[in-house]
Structure formats: structure tokens, C-alpha cells
Symmetry: C2
Subunit: 164 residues, 2 copies
């Protein structure tokens, strides 16, 4: 009886785990499932891609931001960015609010594992279905290439916003 | 010796506490010091006030948002909104990022205490110095008046953004 119960529980666990699993990025980075519990670092808008964003950080990143020690960011810091298409607020015409999810992306500081891409490991999952971006591990070179524009800020565009 | 140490510690505690204290709003609502640790509900932009915002929630609000139970929001839910003037990103011309803090504002659901303003208690602190907004408790009528436009959403403009 006890054994049957345990077997049943294990089956249910595996089944739901399989359904909920998001595939890793092609460079092996796993999707950080707990990112919704991370804290705010900043927001941004981009006219070139017509998107709005929030940038959150894991505990290491948030501690560094609050201490003003983000150039360089410490090892273990992870920044996450949720990117939305803008939508009109139906209740307040001049306001723009998040619409569909474009993608969610992360950069994590690990100078041993990601020395080839400026000491940062890049990952991105597309849309609400969280489809991994990139055909192979080389996709991260494209990320790193663009982030070269932020070399003066340890390759990170985000500057933590003032939080009073 | 032990006594002197305790007295010294108490003095230091009081002194730093006094310096760090933010005055309450005129309707008695205290500044929620831990809001930086709250989680993201949404972002928004407003063309009418030329501002960009992040909206965060306390644990009650975030649990309600994740469960899709926000109409009405539960008792004890608190939403916080940090409002910035936009600034140009010096490293990426088409991007707009947070500049100076305009204000930070909160609304908390408490149908007993705030029945006069649609069951929500409003508060706002201005600028980086966190100066309480409003000359007397009547200021909240102005907040509630504007929030009437969101009566169909329990007086809350924010709809939680999709977080994949």
C-alpha cells in the first residue's frame, strides 16, 4: 500500500516535471525558474525594437546594485530581462502597458565558464512558450557582439535605476 | 561594562533610526521600507506625464496576481509604483532608461480602514527625498477620483503583465 502510493507519487511528479520543463539554451544554460522572485533593477524602452522591458537581478546582482558595485559586476551575478510588445491601456489612453511577451533573456557573470564571451553567459527564451533562442552555442557570440557597446560598464547596458 | 555597551548600542540605533525615518503620508500610512524587495507586477509609460514606471507588489498582491485573482484584489494587497522621468541611454541611442525619481506611490486594500476611498488607502512620497504628498488626509480623495476610471478593475489600473 505504502509502496504503491510512493510509486504513484513518483509518476505524477515525473509527469508534471516533464511538462513544466523548459529546455536549456544551446550553450547549456538552464532556464532560471525562480526569476519571477528576483528584484527590480531597472526598466527600459527601445524605439528601435518597439519594446518595453523590466530588468531584474538575482540576490548577488541586487546586492551589488544596492552597494553601487557594478563595474565590474561580481561573479555569480545574473540579470534577467523580460521584453514585451507595448499595448494601449484600455482605461487610460495616454498610457502604454505590457502586451505579448517577445522574449526573456539572461546574462550571468562567470569568468571561468564564459571567458569566450566577455565573462558573461548569455541565454534567451522566446515568447510565452519559452523556446530556446539559437541553433547552437555560437548564438552567444551575437549577444556578446552587441554588448561590446557597453564595454565601459562591464558589457552590461543596464544601470540600476534610482530606488528611493 | 556590559551596561555601557548596551546604552551605546541603543544610542547608535536611535540616531540612525531617526535619520533614516521617512514621515508617514498625511492619512497616516507609513512608508513601506521593504518595497525594494517586492516582486514585479508590470511596467508602464505615460505620454501625458512623460514618465516611465515599474509596479511591484507585496506578497499578498503577488500571490493574487499569479493566481489570476485580482478582481477584486484581496484584503492586504499592496501595490507600489516607482515613477521616473525618462533619460536617454548613453550607450544605446534608441533606448530610454530611468532618470530622476518623480515619486513613489502605493495603494493598499483595506476595506475597513479606507472605505471612504473605495477600500483602498493611497499614499505617495515625492522625489529622492521621499517627501510625503498632500497637505492633509484629504489628498487621497484626489487619488481615488482618478482611480474611478479603473472601477471595472477594482480601482486598480495595473493589470499584471505576462511573465513567462
Amino acid at each position: 500500500m505504502q509502496k504503491a502510493k510512493a510509486a504513484f507519487a513518483a509518476t505524477v511528479f515525473l509527469a508534471s516535471g516533464a511538462l513544466a520543463q523548459t529546455p536549456p539554451a544551446p550553450n547549456g544554460i538552464a532556464f532560471p525558474k525562480d526569476y519571477k522572485d528576483w528584484k527590480v533593477l531597472a526598466v527600459s524602452q527601445r524605439a528601435d525594437s518597439n519594446t518595453m522591458r523590466v530588468i531584474v537581478g538575482n540576490d548577488v546582482a541586487v546586492a551589488a546594485a544596492r552597494a553601487g558595485k557594478t563595474n565590474p559586476w561580481p561573479e555569480g551575478a545574473v540579470l534577467g530581462k523580460v521584453v514585451w510588445k507595448p499595448a494601449k491601456d484600455p482605461l487610460w489612453a495616454p498610457a502604454t502597458v505590457p502586451g505579448d511577451v517577445v522574449h526573456i533573456e539572461f546574462m550571468e557573470k562567470n569568468s571561468k565558464r564564459f571567458a569566450m564571451t566577455g565573462n558573461w553567459g548569455y541565454s534567451r527564451w522566446r515568447g510565452a512558450k519559452l523556446e530556446p533562442h539559437g541553433k547552437d552555442a555560437g548564438f552567444a557570440q551575437e549577444c556578446a557582439g552587441c554588448h561590446n557597446a557597453a564595454q565601459s560598464q562591464d558589457f552590461v547596458f543596464t544601470r540600476p535605476a534610482a530606488l528611493p
